[in-house]
Structure formats: structure tokens, C-alpha cells
Symmetry: C2
Subunit: 215 residues, 2 copies
């Protein structure tokens, strides 16, 4: 990276950053319009600027373009989602069934993210007592990509209603890679500053931090 | 939140956001100057805008102001760091010993972050097959705070060279809370776009994503 003066972030930038946090959504409703060439690659390069324990950069990105594999992922989602629905009781079951929890059918871009739990890079620094910090690093790379996508007008949806061992086998990656999540990327068909789960009455969120003070 | 038009993020904002990603650092060198009243609270409120599985908001923030507890945390860091040093061999051991891996002595603001692994909020949605997604949500809240801090000219340091059960006991939190990390916040004494571990020759990083394509 070129040597440069440290950037100065002014109040206008901070206000826009706060708006980015407030309007970032988990998107499940996409236009099927393909993304311009290189879009995902640009976002992935930004994601590599994420913090990682001991500079280990343990994230592994797998773009899924193959229609057969995409259909197999969808099938796994349907099975896991049906099981989750079966665990809901009474009125909650009807509410759960009405939710759209993934944009796997429409999103033009699909990718999976895996973690190398014990990478050579970083030489183990910072993770002897907390080996889970490599997975946490990969999650921060996902979050970096998510924010960058939203700043470009794109939406990301994180699909976690999947069976990790099935996904690892299905996507033909090294068996020791840890499945972190499966992601849909595309143009969102709507924008909102309130999560869909809140708008549809599934859950209310707090806008104040849960903070405990130890004096 | 007030109803508002969706914000438009223009190329100038995206360039500044990319600079924020590039200049965010894990900071271990702080000025001891106290933070203005309300600084941490403002950052924590922004952190609550982070994505969370099923809108579960499982993050729990614990500010550590007490000098005795801070010293106990430092003692645990010293013990864990000595053990990590003992595992390094030859020339690497000298290099490890020369690294400054935490700013626990100078940073004016200390807080710990925990995760409620099985919160009532969210009603379990999205995490039946991947319960670890609550911890991942908390990590994204930390990352949100980290970026917001840097945009305000502040530095954050993530201390992971600690023993989680010791920290949970020491900070007097519910035993079932999962320790995610301990954090130092304050004015950084320097700014750089290159991680200290790279500048000091511990590890080199890649600036291109590790991407695999499944056609």
C-alpha cells in the first residue's frame, strides 16, 4: 500500500457511517440482475483488510456459480428450515412459516465463507488460549464485506439455516475448513432502516447497549 | 428510529470507508488521556446496530473501571503471554518477546465483551444448526464499535492472550456468559496503515482475497 497521510474522518463522514450501520440489513429480497464483473472481487479485497488474530487472515471464500451446487444448497436450506419450523409451537409456527429467511432463489451471487482454524500464517500469535479467535477474524471479514456492499448499494444476506457438514462436503473444500456461513449478494429490492424480523413482529430490538459497569 | 429516506452513499464516502478499513489498527500504544464523558456509551449504542442472528442481540458489555480488577486482568495477561513466549522457539522467541501485544497499562478505557450463547431474544431463529452464530453476532458488534472508534480518532486493541474462565470469574459475570475478548480504548499514540506485526517482521499479510471459484 502506498505511503499516505493518515486520513481525517470528519463529523459528516461519521454521520454517514452511522447511517451505514443503521441501514445495513440482512437482505432476503433481491433483484435477479447480475452484478457487474469484478464486484465480488472488489468487496473481497476490502474484506482482507479486516482485523485478524496474529495477522493470520484465516478467511477462505468460495464463490458458488454452479447451478447444481446452488440447488443442493437450497435443498439443504429447505430441509433445515422445515426442521426449525417443526420446533415452533402454536401461533409462533404460523409466524415462522410466513417469514422469508433467505434469498437463495433470486440472488445473482452466492458465496460461502470458511475458516482455517489453525493456519500457518500468524504463527499462532494471540490465539493459544482462545483458538476461536480465528473464526472471529473471519466473521469480521464478512462484516467488512457486508458494510462495503451496502455502501455500494448492494445487499447481503447471511444464511445460517444450513447443516455445516453437508455444506463442507457439498462445496468440495478441505474437510478441516470450518463452515462460517453462506451468503447471497445482489441488488436489494427494498431498503429499510428497520430489520424485517422487527417489521414483521418476530422480535423487537433494543437501540441502547446492554452495559454493565464494574467500579 | 425516525422514518427517513434511505441514505445515498457516493464514491467519496466509499473511498473514505475504504481508508477507514485500511487505517483501522489493533492499537497497543495509547495516550493515557481520559476519554470525554459518554464516549464509550456512544460507541456501544452504535455497536447495537450490528447484525445479529434472529435479532438476538446477544452482546454483553462490561466496563472495567476498578483498579484492582484491571490489575488482575493485567496479571492474567502476563501469565498467558509468558506461556505463549515459552512455546516460541529460537529466533522466534526473541522476536515474540520484543512485541508489545497489549496496551493494558496506558489505555484509559477498558471493557470486556461477553456473549449470551442462548438468549431468549430472537427465539432461537436462525441458529438451530449453528448455535455459534450468536458469538459471531457479538463479534460483529465489536467490529462495528472498532470502526466507529477509529472514525472518531480513537484506537481499539483486542486482547485475546487471556484465560476465559479466569476472566469470567474475575469480572463477576454470570457463569454461562461466553468471554469474547477484553478491549483497550483510547487515543492512539501513532497512526499507520500497516499492522504493527507486519512492520516488526512477525508476519506478512496478503492484500488480495483468497478466493476459490466453484463453477
Amino acid at each position: 500500500m502506498a505511503i499516505a497521510a493518515p486520513p481525517r474522518f470528519d463529523p459528516a463522514f461519521r454521520a454517514q457511517l452511522a447511517a451505514l450501520f443503521a441501514w445495513r440489513r440482512d437482505v432476503r429480497r433481491f433483484s435477479a440482475e447480475p452484478l457487474p464483473e469484478g464486484t465480488l472481487e472488489g468487496l473481497l479485497d476490502l474484506a482482507t483488510l479486516a482485523p485478524s488474530v496474529g495477522l493470520s487472515q484465516p478467511w477462505r471464500f468460495v464463490t458458488v456459480a454452479d447451478a447444481g451446487r446452488r440447488e443442493a444448497v437450497r435443498a439443504n436450506f429447505r430441509a433445515c428450515n422445515a426442521q426449525a419450523l417443526a420446533c415452533q409451537e402454536g401461533e409462533r409456527a404460523a409466524r415462522y412459516a410466513a417469514l422469508k429467511l433467505a434469498g437463495l432463489d433470486e440472488a445473482p451471487c452466492h458465496f460461502a465463507v470458511f475458516n482455517e482454524d489453525d493456519p500457518a500464517q500468524g504463527r499462532g500469535l494471540g490465539r493459544a488460549t482462545m483458538p476461536e479467535t480465528t473464526a472471529y477474524s473471519t466473521v469480521m471479514a464478512v462484516h467488512t464485506l457486508w458494510l462495503a456492499a451496502r455502501a455500494s448499494g448492494l445487499g447481503l444476506g447471511w444464511v445460517s439455516i444450513l447443516d455445516p457438514p453437508t455444506l463442507t462436503a457439498l462445496l468440495d473444500v478441505p474437510r478441516h475448513w470450518r463452515f462460517i456461513g453462506y451468503f447471497c449478494l445482489g441488488m436489494p429490492s427494498a431498503q429499510d432502516d428497520t430489520p424485517e424480523l422487527e417489521r414483521l413482529g418476530w422480535e423487537c430490538r433494543s437501540l441502547r447497549a446492554d452495559q454493565h459497569l464494574l467500579r
